[in-house]
């Protein structure tokens, strides 16, 4: 059986709007954020993100695990990019060295060296600001959108009936998959299986994950077949369908949509005019002797 995200009605800025309006705003926000590498511009999106987060009504204990995972994940990758210097070379060509740290040992003649450059620092900061803003705005959605309205929301956004209902099922498949995964892990642990003690090379470790992946996959397939049977038995897809849930667009929703569209248009225009590209402060470049 499909389970839903942990939605609850709350005093939330997201729930104050029609979900279709919020999703439209969210899409505009996402593409606008991706238009910039300049941390000064990105600061605007970070501020919006934190404003929404604080006013989302989602309690810290509800979101703590997801929040720490996302921020930790993004921080890790930003730091990795900083260490290796790869990833940012598409947005800057020249690097200004602030400091070079060399290891006191060599491996086959290669001495590990960390180059701390102005560009690497600012690229990591920009990357962190961009991705964490998008991720936080995304993770708030399942806590804020009523799962019983998923279908009608997507229908309201212009998708055909079948696709709208498929999106509804897909949105609920994710938490269902997580539940089934946990049940399988528990069932195998009860047979003495220890996921944390897998040994061997990568291929061997993947092979040893079979007791988890096979049941989870098979369960997902069987579950899908059950869903198809249940839908067929109640005449799904024979023609246009009625949606009993009705959501209404109000003035505030129109304002939000226009606000989102305005941000997107301004972002794209600024991008076309050459604003918002990767930026580092002149003072730091001078400090680096550039």
């Amino acid at each position: 059986m499909l389970v839903a995200w942990r939605y609850r009605k709350r005093r939330s800025i997201i729930q104050w709007f029609d979900p279709r309006a919020w999703l439209t705003f969210y899409a505009c926000f996402l593409f606008s954020t991706l238009a910039f590498w300049d941390v000064r511009f990105l600061l605007f999106f970070v501020v919006i993100t934190f404003f929404v987060l604080i006013n989302s009504g989602v309690k810290w204990r509800e979101i703590r695990r997801a929040f720490l995972f996302i921020v930790g994940f993004v921080l890790f990758f930003a730091f990795l990019t900083f260490l290796t210097g790869r990833g940012g070379t598409e947005v800057y060509e020249e690097e200004h060295l602030l400091r070079e740290l060399k290891a006191s040992f060599s491996i086959f003649g290669w001495t590990p060296t960390l180059k701390i450059t102005v560009e690497r620092i600012f690229f990591a900061v920009s990357q962190f600001a961009r991705i964490s803003s998008i991720a936080i705005m995304t993770v708030l959605l399942p806590y804020s959108l009523d799962p019983s309205l998923y279908g009608v929301i997507f229908r309201g956004l212009g998708l055909p009936d079948k696709f709208a209902y498929a999106m509804d099922l897909t949105m609920r498949f994710i938490p269902t998959f997580a539940r089934d995964f946990q049940l399988t892990v528990d069932a195998q642990r009860a047979r003495g299986y220890e996921l944390e003690k897998l040994s061997g090379g990568v291929v061997e470790q993947v092979r040893k994950m079979g007791p988890i992946f096979v049941p989870v996959t098979i369960h997902a397939i069987i579950g899908s077949e059950d869903i198809i049977d249940a839908m067929d038995l109640r005449a799904f897809g024979v023609g246009p369908r009625t949606w009993i849930d009705v959501i209404e667009r109000r003035t505030r929703d129109r304002i939000l949509i226009w606000f989102g569209v305005a941000i997107l248009v301004v972002s794209l225009v600024l991008g076309l005019l050459g604003y918002g590209e990767f930026w580092v402060p002149e003072a730091l470049i001078r400090l680096a002797g550039g």
């Binding site: 019983s148 399988t184 003495g192 069987i222 579950g223 059950d226 067929d232 849930d245």
Partner: protein
């Protein structure tokens, strides 16, 4: 003259990937206002028959089909599923597999939305269906928070809202506590009395007999072995194959030799004082920080205990037993297995002492063959190769699957998969066995056989099983725990706990004919016995 609602003529079907027909030359008709009970062992073709009538065969399940299904005199072969679904409503075995909507309202409205019925009409029909089943209070509830009985009723409401003339129920009682099962059966009787034609596939024959189905069909190996009234059923079927009322079994078993006494837990017998193997000390637990679902559980599982855990759907029974193997850790209090706090042991460490059979087999089966599946647990516990080989063979023998050793477990029927999942734990040779609804979805003969064998295994020192089947507790348990609303409300010998019918009612349990007969004869027998044994007292 109004045509007969359902006529099945010479119906046969063979699944595309299987050899041999799943059903062969089935003929019957079902009239308005009639309940036709369809019984038979797992794999006898009951579900295939249902699928052939509701149109899933041959539309979703491909194969060779011959014969006719006539609904109100019209052949349904050329009908679309949407047409069939307006005449024939189907409630699947597990309501969890049928419910699609996030909220009860959406779930019940789903079929009508698909038929483009106007919104106002849908809301009217939804409210009508909910009121009819007396579940209007559930209208705004999220479906995944419902109990098993509530889910069953919501699934039924979703079908009834489409106003079918024929209702197909595929093992509707399988996951329900006895009181919910009784509610469902009363509803079915009422629907039939209103003129609906009802076909009900069910293993729990004795329960269904209470609502007096007009006719019974008994199937075996894809064919109809008996079709007729209730009185004739007990004359043609073996009382070991189908669970009949205890009085009928006693009557018939008198003619047979007395059954052999089974020696329960021979590994625990004669070992002196009953040692506590598992201890629950004031255990409290909640999945969310602010909602407690287990409250102050105190008990010991001692050597020699065969414990039946009874209680309503959603009472916290599974949550309780998951603490014993350390899958859940108490928020307050502690659980000791072999004297060691489960918070200090890994689940794998506990698994060598306590084997736990999950409710659903599909969450654990993964191996290419049954024997490899069974070897997985013992291998994790570092048993020797020779030991594993004999453990696998013995476990297969107990669950009657020795001929399936090289078959892929995932290709077996649900009942067989369930037995593989039990055998997989048996092969680990733990000292304590814990089973979560081991008989759900199993036919009577199979589950009685494997329960007999499991209880005689010398390796086990204690066994605990969760069940909705009161008779299982009567026959096998020497101790009954009753859990309701996260609290241990009764703990004692079956004859002490189960004699209080008010307590049973408060915990959504229903006295069975076997329980009543045992209580009646208790002064003479001194203990609970199975019906076959009572016949010879």
């Amino acid at each position: 003259m109004t045509p007969i609602p359902l006529v099945v003529e010479n119906l046969s079907f063979r699944y595309r990937d299987r050899q041999g027909a799943a059903i062969h030359d089935i003929n019957f008709e079902a009239r308005a206002g009639e309940i036709l009970l369809i019984a038979g062992a797992s794999g006898c073709g009951k579900t295939t028959l249902i699928r052939s009538i509701n149109g899933l065969i041959p539309r979703s399940y491909k194969g060779e089909m011959s014969g006719h299904v006539l609904v109100f005199g019209e052949e349904t072969t050329s009908w679309k599923l949407s047409q069939i679904s307006q005449k024939i409503g189907t409630v699947l075995q597990d309501p969890e597999r049928q419910i699609l909507g996030t909220k009860v309202l959406n779930e019940v409205a789903f079929g009508l939305e698909n038929l483009t019925v106007p919104r106002e009409e849908i809301l009217h029909r939804v409210d009508e269906a909910l009121a009819f089943l007396k579940i209007s209070h559930l209208r705004e509830r999220e479906t995944f928070t419902l109990s098993g009985g509530e889910k069953q009723k919501v699934a039924l409401a979703g079908v009834l809202a489409m106003r079918p003339s024929i209702l197909l129920l595929d093992e509707p009682l399988a996951s329900l506590d006895p009181a919910s099962a009784q509610d469902t059966l009363d509803t079915v009787r009422f629907l039939a009395d209103q003129g609906m034609t009802v076909l009900m596939v069910e293993h729990r024959v004795e329960d269904v007999l209470r609502i007096k189905p007009e006719r019974v069909m008994f199937m075996s190996e894809g064919e109809v072995r008996y079709l007729g009234d209730l009185a004739g059923l007990s004359q043609v079927v073996n009382y070991r194959e189908v669970k009949l009322p205890a009085e009928d079994i006693v009557e018939r078993a008198k003619r047979d030799p007395a059954p052999e006494e089974i020696s329960i837990l021979p590994g625990a017998a004669g070992r002196g004082e009953k040692e506590a193997l598992v201890k629950f000390e004031n255990v409290a637990f909640g999945y969310d920080a602010d909602i407690e679902v287990l409250h102050g559980i105190n008990l010991e599982i001692r050597r020699g205990d065969v414990i039946a855990v009874l209680g309503p759907n959603g009472a916290g029974k599974t949550t309780f037993v998951k603490h014993a193997i350390g899958l859940l850790k108490p928020k307050a209090g502690r659980v000791l297995v072999n004297g060691r706090d489960t918070k200090e042991s890994s689940v794998a460490q506990i698994a060598s002492t306590l084997g736990y059979v999950f409710q659903s087999p599909s969450h654990m089966l993964f191996a290419p063959t049954v024997s490899e599946e069974l070897a997985f647990g013992p291998r994790n516990l570092k048993h020797s190769k020779e030991q594993i080989e004999s453990e696998v063979k013995e476990a297969l023998r107990i669950v009657n699957l020795s001929d399936k050793e090289q078959d892929p477990p995932l290709a077996l029927s649900f009942g067989q998969q369930k037995r593989v999942s039990i055998a997989a734990i048996l092969a680990m040779q733990s000292r304590i066995l814990v089973m979560d609804e081991p008989t759900a979805g199993q036919d009577y003969q199979n589950y009685m056989n494997f329960m007999n064998s499991i209880l005689q295994m010398p390796a086990f020192e204690a066994i605990l099983f969760i069940t909705h089947d009161v008779d299982l507790a009567v026959i096998y348990a020497n101790r009954v725990l009753m859990i309701n609303d996260g609290r241990l409300v009764a703990d004692g010998k079956p004859q002490d706990v189960l004699r209080d019918f008010n307590r049973l009612k408060a915990n959504r349990l229903v006295p069975t004919s076997l329980l009543s007969l045992n209580l009646e004869r208790l002064p003479a027998t001194g203990r609970f016995m199975r019906a076959e044994a009572l016949a010879h007292v």
